[in-house]
Symmetry: C2
Subunit: 93 residues, 2 copies
DNA sequence: TCGATATATTGAAATATATCAATGTATTAT
DNA sequence: ATAATACATTGATATATTTCAATATATCGA
């Protein structure tokens, strides 16, 4: 059984790195990007960006859909909304 | 100049540890606690809990008001609200 | 098929974080 | 004044995270 803390922590961890937040914001602004696009935004090596995207996908914040040799990445707005609501609710008395 | 990423990252970092989220939730539930209360909730050493509270205070999520030898800790709801709104808005296109 | 492109994985190094025991500081009670 | 209480700080260790180079895998185009 996963507690609400676990859920909050997992997503907060994903949001706790500047590069990842930048990538997330860029995707949100542009609707969708490929990993290559994200590399340009992050200005870091390809493996590093690949790792960051994995963290965001694992947290549920991003959707990654393979399309040929590209991977199309979009923001999972549902999960983001869930997160902000969970943080709000669980800190309301 | 601090970007919105910086702000999100700082607070997300504070929320990216299970102990800190647990402490935050406990304070929210009870209205206010002392550091000693937080130690009981966390079941960790006093210095460790002191460190965690410091991280939360530095992120702006907690208010700490000295009262005699106790420190009264409350949740800074404004900052929490700011955070959830900033996350929501900055990921809306 | 072969080379090029897009992304993932592995292994290693550097840095950051969580944790505790020991100690310091401030405040209250006796 | 002194002892006890509440909390903070320091220094050390263990673990986690970030990053890259090297390499692997999958797909497309010629």
């Amino acid at each position: 059984m996963k507690t609400s803390e676990d859920h909050i922590v997992k997503i907060a961890k994903a949001l706790s790195d500047k590069t990842r937040v930048r990538i997330l914001q860029d995707i949100a602004k542009r609707g969708s990007v490929t990993c290559g696009d994200a590399i340009n935004v992050a200005c870091l090596s390809q493996p590093t960006v690949s790792h960051h995207i994995k963290v965001l996908v694992d947290a549920g914040l991003l959707n990654a859909d393979k399309n040929g040799r590209h991977v199309i990445i979009t923001v999972n707005k549902e999960v983001l909304k869930e997160f902000t609501e969970l943080v709000s609710v669980s800190t309301k008395r």
